[in-house]
């Protein structure tokens, strides 16, 4: 499989917990991926594996065609959660340090960028606002001119305005330099406008990964009678989630064809609906005891 980030049976166990459980996926190059899942789903572990900071227990992860952490790899940028920076250093000192520590580091570009977004270069970073610190961390990562940029919960601690400014700076960087970006979040809302791919992670397992427009086209909400006349619904590949009410059943399904059965009313779904359905405990098919065509 080709891709910027390709996993095959990727598993990471800590003493008792399984953080990643046999994950297999391929993130296409030049995509902007929203990596969504609840806290503890394995998002950070996955990103740490990609940087080479964490070694998988089993399985493999290929980053831009090589081993994670391999110094000969094309550049990988990483911003850890809460954008940790050396607190006593000024932005300018951090940039200089970045220039010394990285083989390729575009110092003039980085400095111009920070001035552009109004960051005082001569102030220790612990006296900057959360939004400004996030901008500095992003800028340090972008200055490496990465081909893969990994951002762990970049928006979690930012207020709405700082979120917008951060995403704006990120999209500016993406438009300038073609790269693959993976942003993790426990909320989709913030990322929906910038991502073109969605990956849902739950309990260390990949629930779905795809281009957002394809996911939207493939998933439907079906509402039908509580006792379906037919045990199969032609055109349904998987029942992702199900809710039973007294008079009706509501399903969120992944389709593999048109659904022509008149017993089911079908509705389009939002990306948020898709995420929520995959995050529900996998009860759909068992609850309904439905045979699904093609399953």
């Amino acid at each position: 499989m080709n891709g910027a980030l390709v996993a095959d049976g990727l598993t990471k166990r800590y003493r008792k917990t399984v953080a990643l459980d046999r994950c297999s996926f391929a993130i296409p190059e030049r995509s902007i991926v929203a990596l969504v899942g609840p806290n503890g789903a394995g998002k950070s572990t996955l990103l740490h594996c990609a940087t080479g900071l964490v070694r998988p227990t089993e399985g493999t992860l290929t980053v831009l065609g090589g081993q994670p952490g391999d110094p000969t790899l094309p550049r990988v940028g990483f911003v850890a959660q809460d954008a940790p920076l050396y607190r006593d250093f000024t932005a300018d000192e951090l940039l200089k340090m970045g220039g010394k520590l990285n083989r390729e580091f575009d110092l003039p570009f980085a400095r111009a960028r920070l001035v552009d977004v109004g960051i005082p270069l001569d102030r220790p970073t612990d006296r900057l606002s959360g939004g400004q610190r996030a901008q500095v961390a992003l800028c340090l990562a972008l200055a490496k001119r990465p081909r893969l940029l990994l951002l762990d919960e970049p928006l979690a601690s930012l207020d709405p305005l700082a979120r917008r400014e951060f995403l704006s700076a990120l999209m500016d960087g993406v438009a300038e330099e073609h790269m693959t970006v993976v942003l993790s979040s426990h909320l989709l809302t913030d990322l929906e406008r910038v991502c073109d791919h969605l990956m849902v992670l739950r309990s260390g397992q990949v629930q779905t990964l795809g281009a957002t427009d394809e996911l939207l086209a493939k998933h439907k909400r079906l509402i039908g009678p509580p006792q379906p006349r037919r045990p199969k619904i032609t055109g349904v590949e998987q029942i992702v989630s199900a809710a039973r009410a007294e008079r009706q059943i509501e399903l969120l399904v992944r389709t593999n064809g048109d659904i022509l059965d008149p017993a089911w009313d079908q509705y389009d779904v939002s990306l948020e609906d898709v995420v929520l359905a995959y995050l529900e405990p996998r009860a759909g098919e068992a609850l309904l005891d439905l045979e699904v065509a093609g399953a």
């Binding site: 917008r164 999209m171 438009a175 406008r193 910038v194 991502c195």
Partner: protein
């Protein structure tokens, strides 16, 4: 140059919102043939959307024959959508206002007025099309 915005709450896809904003600017004469649209990067950064979303919007506008991408230069407006002049619009709006005043004097609520306008438009345009 026009400013763009994208509402995440809208059910309209983001690229369609951008397309609609260009169409509206063309209709209102705020954009005219020869004007350059902002670059993909400028729009992506301004509204914080995926550059591909902007590209898709520009491709749609190109497909509609409204704009044209010139390699190395940018995207330019080639066709106008502007209708009547502002003076004509003002005159028509004034006569519509006096009609609305009459309708209100007769006790019509805004939704009644809208219904009358819609059905009148519907019947007039139907007649025109079938003629």
């Amino acid at each position: 140059m026009i400013g763009f915005h994208v509402s995440s709450a809208s059910a309209v896809p983001a690229y369609m919102q951008l397309v609609e904003q260009v169409r509206r600017a063309l209709r209102l004469g705020r954009l005219e043939p020869g004007d350059r649209l902002p670059t993909v990067r400028e729009v992506a950064a301004e509204v914080a959307v995926n550059p591909n979303t902007v590209l898709k919007a520009y491709r749609e506008l190109e497909h509609e024959g409204l704009v044209e991408g010139r390699p190395g230069q940018g995207t330019y407006v080639v066709r106008s959508l502007s209708g009547p002049s502002p003076q004509t619009l003002d005159r028509l709006r004034a006569s519509l206002e006096s009609w609305v005043d009459k309708a209100r004097a007769d006790g019509l609520e805004p939704e009644h007025i809208r219904a009358v306008v819609d059905s009148t438009l519907g019947s007039l345009f139907d007649v025109e099309e079938s003629a």
